[in-house]
């Protein structure tokens, strides 16, 4: 529809009318919801934002979708072109993780299921109509009942209204609702909390309030429960001068590398340390509430020597740690991830809970009142039970919704085979996942950006899910599907659709006005009743009675299947962007690999990309190697989601799936497998890039005094200094708070239409990222990261060499690239010491319909053109135009670059260096400030803040 109609339509639109109209009702398919009267809001070409919820992982961050009006396929329409975090959202406060940034690639994914599918007589999928599907399913449900078989509802974690609806659905249809399935179910954690506090919950950790953080295995900055929230809080916490963070882990994680002190522990040995800590605690006088003697007596009391011998933590480090823990005012201890997903995981979690109780953390930093909504989530025990029932042919119709058990459940349970025993398998999903392949009826679900709904990630928070684009295919929301099936079953023609159902719910919960604000803000905070958390001594004792702590440390070497910041548990693997972006730690992009410690690699004579065979019992797995410094010698790492083929056990008590393969053997096969590893070298060789390097320190000091005492640069330099007009755009990157999560990288890709080139090109060394994370090994004990992007040099070596002025220094200090003028000599890139320029070796267009998400604010570069970061010049221009209209200069903080906007820890500051009062220029003047390769005299506009030196080394 053309713009006039569009605006006319907006004129008559109003909140609730909108909502009802944006569902199945085909008449107003094109309707886009507005809540505020649109006339004031919508200007042609100016994007609008809808606050909704990110459904890429269970954390359910607030997601604000930027919708641009643009012409696609000769049709003017509104398309979500960028995902941002919802400002001030209690979980992610404006930030997103790389997965959230990439979620648009799911919305527009060409492989999405576009219409209902059913098996034909030969068992192949055929397109079906919804009515057909509904009728079939209802009859099958009926038939199954008659066969005395149980109909089951198996879904991923579900919260909010939908959870309720599913309940109602199951009741009415006589379906048994199974515990929800998440492979990262935190079963041990919840089990332990149940034993200790009668709270089978994943609590909410107030990291930002802690002055001492002790994390054991929990990769809080990557995937643990609610990573963005954790990261955001970490960003707050590090502002506190004496914030200390110890991280214990058997493997190597980016989280660990961010900790003040990272201590490697032998696999499965965490409990010794925790027991030691607990006793040390109860002996000392700082504890708030000592656990009962009975408990203390049942917990083994290892000596410091024993502990350091078992765990491999040196006695002195142990000493440091414990004393630091004790002097802390608000300590916080979190155990999770690799340390709970192991045979001794339950004990570890339990001891942790006891320590938390003893230190009185439950009143402050460990918050059960706002615990994450995991109560409906089951564990592998439930899966086992399900398998049992399938085996006994006791299952009729089984609904599999929003989950991919076939891939997630370790192969040794052969879920696939057992699933065949059900009478009918009804799948609900947006993708033809392995699980959907096993179903008879596949009902396509709308993406969360196409549908209405809500979510309650943790107690006290309700997120709205609202459409930013009308459904692109013949898909439904799960809510609508359930309602329809119920209606079909009950034979009634008309009934409320899910939207109306939602509104009723919301109205009954919050009332009219609150509902509107819920939709406007994207979330609402509900009051929660405070809980008094106390140790249930009896249950703890009864548990401890039949527990054997004398668990042996894992037989090494071990293989650890870690979650991945790029794919979570594997569900985001389908998003090409997340394959294109390197894994920050290894810089590997496409493909599967196993990380082998440098030491082991040396012994086996392994180089990157050499293939090794990992054998355990009679299982063999072959993968290319990525040599990983700092990783303990006998630990091998693979990432879940990249690799499914690994068979792991479960904890029979809690149902936690183990992440370990103990006692493996690794041998070099001699083959070499092409694996795109983007880092040319992990060793910085003191080149003045790492903040820890002396020359950097030196230079930064020189630079700072230059700034402070206004040393006359003319005296030193051969060129006269050139003037800037009003603005000298600059950036600071705080390496202390930067967690290298690569969210900025993903954001940059989406904002700037950066091509996704794929594996073949990357193997050639032709990645296109404008901003990248560079890991560098620092004296083999630590890995430091640097964020590298165009430094917008004042004396940029790339500029003068361009024969056609395609790149030059604009009056605002930007090193701009004129795409239309570029002839592609590539001299600029050759001459860039930071190598941040990217050349289009081919025409890289996103295949349809991915190209719907192109940002209309800037062009898509064709072949033979050099491109690069320009500090999101389109955003700068927008701000400047607005300022111009209001006849003023751009205010500090008015321009927000894509990388800055999405940064969970707010490590990036952007602004005008010419304005001394701006935050960026103040930070740039701080003593930590330094610039990369200062000695080249390129006068970069990006200032890095030196990482604070670590107090003690592991």
């Amino acid at each position: 529809m053309d713009r006039r109609d569009f605006l006319k339509f907006l004129g008559i639109s109003s909140g609730t009318a909108m909502i009802s109209s944006c569902g199945v009702d085909k008449a107003n398919e094109k309707i886009i919801p507005y809540l505020i009267p649109p006339e004031q809001d919508v200007y042609p070409g100016k994007p609008v934002f809808y606050n909704t919820t990110c459904t890429e992982c269970p954390a359910n961050c607030g997601l604000s979708a930027r919708v641009n009006e643009k012409v696609y396929d000769e049709v003017r329409g509104l398309f979500p072109t960028k995902a941002e975090g919802v400002k001030g959202h209690p979980i992610n406060n404006g930030a997103l993780c790389p997965r959230g940034q990439a979620s648009l690639f799911r919305l527009y994914h060409p492989k999405r299921i576009q219409r209902p599918m059913m098996r034909d007589n030969d068992g192949n999928f055929r397109v079906a109509t919804w009515q057909e599907a509904y009728a079939y399913v209802t009859t099958e449900l009926q038939a199954a009942k008659e066969e005395k078989k149980d109909n089951l509802y198996f879904s991923g974690r579900t919260t909010g209204t939908l959870a309720g609806l599913i309940g109602r659905f199951c009741e009415e249809m006589g379906i048994e609702r199974l515990p929800e399935f998440e492979i990262f179910s935190h079963a041990n954690l919840r089990k332990a909390n149940e034993i200790v506090f009668n709270q089978p919950e994943v609590p909410h950790y107030h990291i930002k309030d802690a002055d001492f953080l002790l994390t054991i295995g929990a990769d809080i900055l990557e995937t643990f429960v609610s990573p963005v929230s954790n990261a955001a809080q970490y960003g707050e916490a590090v502002k506190n001068e004496n914030f200390t963070w110890y991280h214990l882990e058997p493997n190597l994680s980016m989280t660990g590398l961010k900790a003040t002190t990272r201590l490697a522990v032998n696999p499965h040995s965490e409990i010794y340390f925790l027991a030691y800590l607990l006793h040390a605690l109860s002996r000392s006088d700082i504890r708030k509430r000592r656990p009962s003697w009975a408990i203390m007596n049942m917990v083994p009391d290892p000596s410091a020597e024993e502990v350091s011998q078992k765990t491999g933590i040196s006695a002195e480090n142990l000493e440091h740690l414990v004393s630091a823990f004790f002097i802390a005012k608000r300590p916080l201890i979190i155990t999770g991830g690799v340390s709970t997903a192991q045979p001794g995981g339950l004990e570890a979690a339990l001891l942790t809970a006891l320590i938390q109780a003893a230190m009185g953390m439950n009143d402050t930093v460990v918050d059960f009142a706002h615990s994450q909504n995991y109560e409906k989530v089951g564990s592998m025990l439930d899966v086992q039970e399900l398998l049992e029932r399938l085996r006994n042919k006791a299952v009729g119709v089984i609904f599999i919704s929003r989950s991919n058990p076939v891939d997630d459940i370790s192969a040794n349970f052969n879920f696939v085979e057992e699933l065949k025993n059900a009478r009918l398998r009804v799948g609900m999903s947006d993708f033809m996942s392995a699980s959907m392949q096993e179903c008879d009826v596949v009902l396509p679900l709308s993406h969360s950006l196409e549908s209405w709904g809500d979510a309650a990630p943790r107690k006290g928070i309700r997120n709205v899910i609202q459409p930013a684009i009308e459904p692109q295919y013949d898909t439904r929301t799960e809510g609508d599907v359930l309602l329809e099936i119920m209606r079909t079953a009950s034979g009634q023609k008309q009934g409320p659709d899910y939207n109306q159902y939602l509104i009723e719910q919301w109205h009954s919960l919050y009332g009219e006005s609150e509902t509107v604000s819920l939709i406007e803000n994207g979330y609402i905070e509900e009051p929660v009743s405070p809980l008094s958390i106390a140790v249930d001594t009896r249950s703890v004792e009864s548990y401890l009675k039949n527990t054997d702590f004398s668990r042996e440390v894992a037989a090494q070497p071990v293989l650890i299947i870690t979650p991945s910041i790029r794919t979570y548990d594997g569900r985001s693997k389908v998003l090409p962007l997340l394959n294109e972006i390197p894994d920050p730690l290894t810089t590997v992009t496409y493909g599967e690999w196993v990380s082998v410690s440098a030491v082991a690699a040396k012994k086996m004579g392994l180089k990157d990309r050499d293939e090794i065979q990992i054998s355990v019992e009679n299982e063999n797995l072959n993968y290319p190697v990525k040599v990983q410094n700092v990783l303990p010698e006998n630990v091998y790492m693979v990432q879940r989601g990249l690799i499914y083929a690994i068979k792991t056990d479960i904890d029979s008590r809690s149902g936690e799936a183990s992440w370990y393969l103990d006692n493996i053997s690794a041998t070099k096969t001699g083959a070499v497998i092409p694996l795109p590893i983007l880092s040319g070298s992990m060793h910085e060789e003191g080149r003045g890039i790492l903040s820890s390097h002396e020359s950097v320190v030196e230079h930064s000091e020189h630079y700072n005094e230059k700034l402070k005492e206004e040393v006359d640069v003319e005296e030193e330099r051969i060129y006269p200094k050139h003037p800037h007009k009003n603005y000298r755009w600059g950036m600071t990157i705080n390496q202390d708070s930067c967690i290298n999560c690569a969210a900025c990288v993903a954001a940059c890709y989406v904002e700037n239409n950066i091509p996704v080139v794929g594996q073949k090109e990357q193997l050639q060394g032709r990645e296109m990222s404008w901003i990248r994370i560079e890991p560098f090994v620092r004296d083999d004990r630590d890995i430091e990261f640097t964020l590298m992007l165009c430094q917008q040099c004042d004396n940029a070596p790339c500029e003068p060499v361009c024969p056609v002025y395609a790149t030059y220094h604009n009056p605002e200090g930007l090193n701009v690239q004129v795409y239309n003028r570029c002839v592609g000599t590539r001299y600029c890139s050759n001459n860039c010491p930071y190598k941040v320029r990217r050349f289009n070796w081919f025409d890289h267009r996103l295949p349809k319909p991915w190209d719907k998400m192109y940002n209309p604010a800037l062009s898509v570069r064709g072949r033979g053109i050099m491109e690069k970061c320009t500090f999101c010049v389109q955003r700068i221009r927008a701000a400047e135009d607005m300022a111009k209209d209001e006849d003023r200069l751009v205010r500090d903080g008015e321009v927000v670059t894509a990388c800055q906007e999405t940064c969970p820890t707010k490590a990036i500051t952007f602004g005008n260096l010419m304005d001394d009062s701006s935050r960026v220029s103040q930070i740039a003047r701080s003593d930590e400030a330094y610039r990369v390769l200062e000695e080249l005299g390129t006068e970069p506009a990006i200032h890095y803040l030196r990482k604070k030196e670590r107090k003690s080394e592991a």
């Binding site: 560098f776 070596p797 003068p800 024969p803 003028r821």
Partner: protein, 394 residues
Amino acid sequence: MRSIDYNEQLEHEVLAALRKPNPWYWVALVICALLFGMGLTLWIYQMLKGMGVAGLNNPVGWGVYITDFVFWVGIAHSGTLISAVLFLFRAKFRNAFNRSAEAMTIFAVMTAGLFPLIHLGRSWFFYWLFPYPNQREIWVNFKSPLIWDVFSLGWVGSLRQWWHYNRLYIFLAAFATPLVISVHSVVSWDFAMSIIPGWHTTIFAPYFVAGAIFSGTAMVLTLVIPMRKIFRLEQYITLNHFEKISQVLLFTSLIVTYSYIVEFALAFYGDHQFEAAHFTYRLLGDYQPFYITMLICNSLIPLTLFFRKLRRSIVYLFILSIFVNIGMWLERFVIIVTSLAKDFDPYSWGLYTPTMVEVGITVGSFAMFFMFFLIFAKVLPVLSITELKEEASE
């Protein structure tokens, strides 16, 4: 009377070369033409697909194409020098090589001129490199070494055909000498103007000029020796001529070697970690074989020319000239690629391997060069008759 006979005989024989048609000649010509065609096809393919069909990548933005460019420019200038410089120095042996050298120059310039276009990401906009008046008043960036190229290279070939007007010679020669030096200095500055270790060094200008004469002289030998045989010009292109030219070869080889030593040694002179790291890489790194070969071809083998015997052995000179051609091509390759492969930021290091497209286009360029030269050999007297008369009469 002697002089008359000589002159007539001279004319007769030299011009005879123009008439004799020889089957092998045609075979050679056809092969060259075909290969040349292949090169063009590949170029078109590259334009349609994108630069990516070449092996270039992120750190290594320049490779074989620029190598070829510098190589051919080098050869072009030797021609100019042989006719101009030697004229200024009244070096009579020049005459024997003059025509071939001049022809070579024209063809080499034509070939060289193609590569800056071939290596452009958007060849079809090549004309943006020229400062033509346009209504948007966008001019070129005269600060860019690549533009200096345009200016210095644009017309080098054009003066040639005038040069047999002997009276003008002195003037043109007087211009040609600084011209050649300046042009090749400019080519060297395509690299030296950058700040990349291995490129950014002050000695580059004289170093490249010497290199140009070196490789060009070698190419002259490569061409003249067979030609002398085929057209039976032994009487006019004598061993003395060859001895002289091979002395030039030796001399320039020594200058080039001096530059190798200096640039390498000074990398370790101060505490310049980037320079030091780079030259260590050049010597021990991934491209070591090329570097070593280059040293052998350009520095070691030519030393044998200290022996008069070898200076006067046509066969030996021919083989040597081939080695030098290879060596000088490799020199440019090593300078360009190793410097880019590992520069300041270790994260962005990467290697470069040429693709068949690049190889094909390079072969095509050689084919083009030889094709034109073959045609020349049939169409024009290969020796400058007037000049030989002049020489003989003294």
